[in-house]
C-alpha cells in the first residue's frame, strides 16, 4: 500500500550505486514471525554461512554476497508459502497481528498452517534445546496458558 516498490523504507532516497539494485524481502513483522521457524529450516545453510562470515569480520561490505543469498532464500520461501498455503498463512499472521505477536495465543491457526506446510512443502517446526522428555510447547495438548 505505502511501499509499492518493495524497498525497505529506511533506504528510500539513499544512494544506490548504478546497476546495484536488489529486490528486498518486503514482508512486515507478522508474516516473518509466522514463517520464522520455516525460514530457519529451509534456509539453514545460507543463514549459517552468513553468520559465520559475520563472525570473521563485522564489516557490512564483507558479507554482501552471503547476505544476498540469505535474502533470496527468504523471498523464495515466502513466495512458496504464499502460493501453497496462502490462506492458512494469512490467517496465522493476521491472528498474530491482533495478539501482540505472541505465538502461544494463536495455536489453532498455527496448527492448521503447520499441517499445510508439512503436507505441501515438507517443512516442520522444531524448537531446539527443548528439554528431553517433554512435548514441545506448540504440540502440547492441554497447555496451562491456553488462549
Amino acid at each position: 500500500m505505502s511501499n509499492p516498490d518493495n524497498t525497505p523504507l529506511f533506504s528510500r532516497g539513499t544512494y544506490t550505486q548504478p546497476g546495484a539494485s536488489f529486490p528486498e524481502v518486503g514482508a512486515s513483522s507478522a508474516p516473518l514471525t509466522s514463517a520464522a521457524f520455516f525460514i530457519g529450516a529451509f534456509c539453514k545453510e545460507y543463514n549459517e554461512d552468513f553468520m559465520l562470515c559475520k563472525a570473521e569480520n563485522a564489516d557490512p561490505r564483507h558479507c554482501l554476497k552471503e547476505g544476498r543469498k540469505v535474502t533470496r532464500c527468504t523471498i523464495d520461501l515466502l513466495a512458496k508459502l504464499k502460493a501453497n498455503c496462502g490462506d492458512q498463512f494469512k490467517a496465522h499472521w493476521t491472528c498474530l497481528d491482533n495478539k501482540n505477536h505472541e505465538l502461544n495465543r494463536c495455536r489453532a491457526e498455527e496448527r492448521a498452517f503447520n499441517q499445510c506446510v508439512f503436507d505441501k512443502l515438507g517443512l516442520s517446526k522444531h524448537i531446539p534445546d527443548t528439554p528431553k522428555g517433554e512435548e514441545p510447547i506448540h504440540l502440547k495438548s492441554r497447555p496451562i496458558f491456553d488462549y
Binding site: 528486498e24 545460507y46 547476505g67 540469505v70 510447547i137
Partner: protein, 134 residues
C-alpha cells in the same frame, strides 16, 4: 370449717422435680483434629505450588519459542541492514572523493584507526544534498 372443700390447684413443681439447670460450660471438641487440618492445608498448598511451578515451566518454553523465532530471523534482517549500511558508506566515500579532489595527497576511504577490525562510523554524512554540493 370441717365441710369437705373443693380441690384447688396450686403452682407446684412438676412430677419428679425440675430438670437440672445447666450452669457449666459445654463446648465439645468437634471437627477435624489438628493433624488433619495441617494435612489438609499442606495438601492445598502443595497443589497450588505444583501448578504454579508447571506454569513457570510452560512460560519458560513459551519464551524459548519466541526467542528462537527471533533468532531464525536475524540473518535476513542483518543482511538487509548490511546492505543499507554499505550503501551509506559508499555514498559517504563518494562525497569525500568529490570534496577532497583538489587536496593533494588525500587518500579517499583511508582508515583512521590503527586496528584491522571494522569500526562503525560515528558520523555518517550520507545525504543527497552533500553529493551535489561539491
Amino acid at each position: 370449717m370441717s365441710a369437705p372443700q373443693q380441690p384447688y390447684v396450686q403452682d407446684m413443681p412438676p412430677q419428679g422435680g425440675f430438670a437440672r439447670v445447666q450452669y457449666k460450660r459445654n463446648i465439645p471438641a468437634r471437627g477435624p483434629s489438628g493433624a488433619a487440618l495441617f494435612a489438609g492445608l499442606t495438601a492445598i498448598v502443595a497443589y497450588g505450588w505444583y501448578w504454579n511451578i508447571q506454569g513457570i515451566r510452560e512460560r519458560r518454553e513459551i519464551r524459548r519459542e519466541q526467542t528462537w523465532a527471533r533468532i531464525h530471523l536475524v540473518p535476513m534482517l542483518q543482511a538487509e541492514q548490511d546492505r543499507h549500511e554499505a550503501r551509506m558508506l559508499a555514498q559517504q566515500e563518494e562525497i569525500e572523493r568529490k570534496a577532497m579532489k583538489d587536496v593533494p595527497g588525500w587518500k579517499v576511504g583511508e582508515k583512521v584507526y590503527h586496528t584491522d577490525r571494522y569500526v562503525p562510523p560515528t558520523v555518517l554524512v550520507a545525504d543527497n544534498k552533500f553529493l551535489n554540493l561539491f
